[in-house]
Amino acid sequence: MHVGDGIVPLWLLLVMYVVSGAMLVLSARRIRARFDDRLVPYMGVLAAVIYAAQYVNFPVSVSSGHLIGATMIAVMVGPYAGALIMALVLFVQVLGGDGGILTYGLNTFNMAVFSCFVGWALSAYLYRVLAQRLTEERAVLVATSVASYVTTVAAALVLGIELFTVPGFGIVPFTAIVGIHALIGIGEAVLTFVILLYFVRARPNLISFLSGNEVSEIAQVGGAPWATPEAAAPTTS
């Protein structure tokens, strides 16, 4: 899903630089005063996990895919810190020639900003529903995996819409890019489940949806912690 240079028109790239840049500045401001320095090495290791998982493609029919990981990272540390981590991963990938320099804003919008916020919102909604019936740990695993699948397909839909600005790109390739990501999304969901399962077992304090976590301060959105376990718990009145 990494778009290279020389494909999408410059005006769209500039718009995406502005939108993504504004969202990253907002994200940095949101967490700046709340971020505990004890969490710093965890941010490094989460970025490394995402980079490694994106580095290796798995085969999908005539094509291939890799984990995006935005939904998983947003569930763990919130969409603001998640978007920043994803943007850093994408930056290091640009240094390696994976995704263009001019398309960095567009790729950041698709895989960091859009995917983190949509993935987080979907996961939060599903978690709230599932936590009524399942344990917290199972609810977060299922909610995040399902949301990561939907978010992958949604991000491909957004990319497909952006590619309509490219001469020669029409409804058939649009259907193809969304269709192939409907398959790639299965891999995303499976990898999300496996990686998140490791963190649920090893460091549940790094998952913002779970009780007793140490990241809820940076994971809150709009000051309303409606994705927290307390909010998901059934009312007894």
Binding site: M1, I7, L39, P41, Y55, S63, G168, I180
Partner: protein, 94 residues
């Protein structure tokens, strides 16, 4: 974070990530097929792939599984350090 946590949890994960990526790349288990975007644009829509674009700062190292494994290792370490640096600069001190 305790120093112990860095040694017992964080650094071992980075080492395992490097080992897994190296194993998958050198073992030929990473798919060489075009990704979903490339396939739809260049093979289904037949849009011409641009040439002469920036190929990355590691391009002078050449191509091949060994170079891919090395670049993967450098990338993992680089993003780990960069993320720690950025979040360290944003963190409040206690």
């Amino acid at each position: 974070m305790e120093r112990d946590e860095l040694v017992r949890f964080v650094l071992p994960i980075v080492v395992v990530l490097i080992a897994v990526v190296t194993f998958l790349v050198l073992g030929g288990l990473a798919s060489q097929n075009p990704d979903g975007f490339e396939w739809a644009l260049f093979e289904v829509a037949n849009v011409t792939e641009p040439e002469g674009v920036f190929e990355g700062i590691w391009a002078p190292l050449g191509e091949g599984p060994l170079v891919d494994a090395l670049v993967g290792t450098i990338g993992i370490v680089l993003v780990f350090v960069l993320a720690m640096l950025v979040f360290y600069l944003m963190a409040r001190r206690e």
